[in-house]
Structures are given as structure tokens and as C-alpha cells.
């Protein structure tokens, strides 16, 4: 079985999918990435799908699962390079991939991750996201009873 390589570049893991993946290969990638996130301590994952001429519901779900797993492991995932025809098809298929960050190419994906990390460091409720935080604290959620 083929395997999709995972490359470490600084604080980012880069995956470029260059083959038409069998379902098993996609599942293997999911495991490999989780292992590499933990072993490297990377905080960002970029998955380049510019070589994929289709993304069906299985691959779409795998990407969403990878994003969820990395988030639990304190890493943010950005899917980059989706072709226009793939985007049109995905939406028509009914797969809007909620919870997945996207960028047009690897470079913009890296910028996105760097920006997020910066805000995090600044952060702890500091500038930038202040409005959203305040909004949330002013309106406590009352559970329906």
C-alpha cells in the first residue's frame, strides 16, 4: 500500500497528497499525522490537495476527522489548494466541511497558521478577539429547563 509522506517544516507538518488515494491510504494518513503531531509537537498542519482531481465524501470526511484530531492534539489544520471544480462538486454533494480551515495555497496556509499563533501568543483574551469574548461573557447561556 502506498503511503502519503508527512514533512516537518519548522513548526508545521506539511502533507501534499499526490496520489489518487485508496480509502485505506487515507485512514493510514490520519493515523500517521496524529503520531507525528505528538512526536514533533508541531502546532500546525497543512494539507495540500492541489493534485487531487476529486474529493469524495470519504476523503472529505477524512480531512474533517484529521482537523478534529489535530485540534484535540493542539494543532490547527489548514487544507490548501482545492481546485475550483472540486469546490463546486463538494458543495453540490452536500459536504461543506465545517470546522475545516482553508487557504488557496501552501504559502497563504502558512501565513494563516502564523497569524493564528501570533494572536494566541499576544493573547489570552487580549487584542484582536476582545469583542467576541466580551460578547460571550455578557450573554451567559441559560440552559433550557
Amino acid at each position: 500500500m502506498e503511503r502519503v509522506p508527512v514533512l516537518k517544516i519548522g513548526d508545521i507538518l506539511l502533507v501534499s497528497i499526490q496520489i489518487d488515494m485508496e480509502d485505506q491510504v487515507a485512514l493510514q494518513l490520519q493515523e500517521d499525522l496524529a503520531d507525528r503531531i505528538v512526536s514533533t509537537g508541531c502546532h500546525g498542519v497543512i494539507i495540500d490537495i492541489s493534485a487531487l482531481d476529486i474529493v469524495d465524501s470519504f476523503v472529505g470526511r477524512t480531512l474533517a476527522t484529521i482537523a478534529s484530531i489535530s485540534r484535540v492534539l493542539d494543532a490547527e489544520t489548514v487544507v490548501v489548494g482545492m481546485r475550483p471544480a472540486v469546490a463546486i462538486t463538494l458543495v453540490e454533494l452536500g459536504l461543506s466541511m465545517p470546522g475545516i480551515r482553508t487557504a488557496l495555497n501552501v504559502e497563504l496556509g502558512m501565513e494563516l497558521l502564523a497569524r493564528e499563533r501570533e494572536i494566541d501568543i499576544f493573547g489570552l483574551g487580549g487584542e484582536g478577539f476582545g469583542d467576541a469574548d466580551e460578547g460571550e461573557t455578557e450573554k451567559p447561556v441559560v440552559p433550557a429547563s
Binding site: 485508496e22 474529493v55 470519504f58 463546486i88 462538486t89 454533494l93
Partner: protein
């Protein structure tokens, strides 16, 4: 009028990949637009996986279709599996009897121009889809 076809027996993940490649080649040959190629190959991938996972394997036949006005691609997915008991439910977005997202059948139908399903419990399932050139 239907022209000679290509047939793939689907019994593994690898065969699903072969179906995608065969459909892509056929779609390019008949000059479907890039978006329509992508939609058809995606639909074929969903349906071939259904044939494998739910039908327990089967066959996929790809042929060129011609209705006198337009050319297109017709694909027939056939299995001898358990069949589908409740079609309305099976076509509901988000419903799945397996571990999937429940988008395969309903999503594939949205991606093609014609979609015919013939199924009965215990008799297997045959799905025929067609995509026409614009």
C-alpha cells in the same frame, strides 16, 4: 444508442480507484466540461464505494451514451447484495446504515443528470446514471 463499454469488477478499495480512473478517461473522451467531469467522477466514486461496502462487491460498467442530440457517459453499478428496503430513507441526506456520512446516494444523485435505481430486498441493487455534455 449505446456504444461499447468498459467493465470493472469491484471487490476492493483498489477497484474503486480504478473505477474513478476509467470514468475520468471516458468523460474526457466525450468532452464533458471540467466541472462535469469532476461531478461525474465524484458520483462514480460514491456509488462504486456503495457497491463495495453495502452491496458486498459487484460490477461497474461505463459506456458512451448518445440520444441523437447530445453525447454523454452512462455508468451502471450492479450488486447482488441485500438491496435497499426503504428508498426514501436511503436518499435522506445524512442517513447512513453504515459508518459513512450518509451523502453517497443522495449526493451522487445531485451530481448527475439522470439517476435510475432498481432495487429489492434480497435481490441486489442496480443504479444507472447518465451525464450529458452541455
Amino acid at each position: 444508442m449505446t456504444q461499447p463499454s468498459d467493465r470493472i469488477e469491484v471487490s476492493s478499495d483498489q477497484d474503486v480507484v480504478r473505477v474513478r480512473q476509467l470514468v475520468r478517461t471516458a468523460a474526457v473522451a466525450v468532452k464533458l466540461s471540467l466541472v462535469d467531469q469532476t461531478k461525474l467522477v465524484t458520483a462514480a466514486s460514491e456509488l462504486a464505494r456503495n457497491t463495495l461496502v453495502y452491496g458486498g462487491g459487484g460490477s461497474v460498467e461505463v459506456s458512451r451514451a448518445d440520444n441523437g442530440r447530445r453525447q454523454g457517459i452512462r455508468i451502471v453499478f450492479a450488486d447482488q447484495g441485500p438491496g435497499i428496503a426503504d428508498l426514501d430513507l436511503a436518499f435522506t441526506d445524512g442517513y447512513t446504515s453504515g459508518g459513512g456520512l450518509g451523502l453517497g446516494l443522495s449526493g451522487a444523485r445531485r451530481l448527475v443528470d439522470e439517476f435510475i435505481i432498481d432495487t429489492a430486498v434480497g435481490q441486489g441493487t442496480t443504479i444507472t446514471v447518465t451525464k450529458w455534455c452541455r
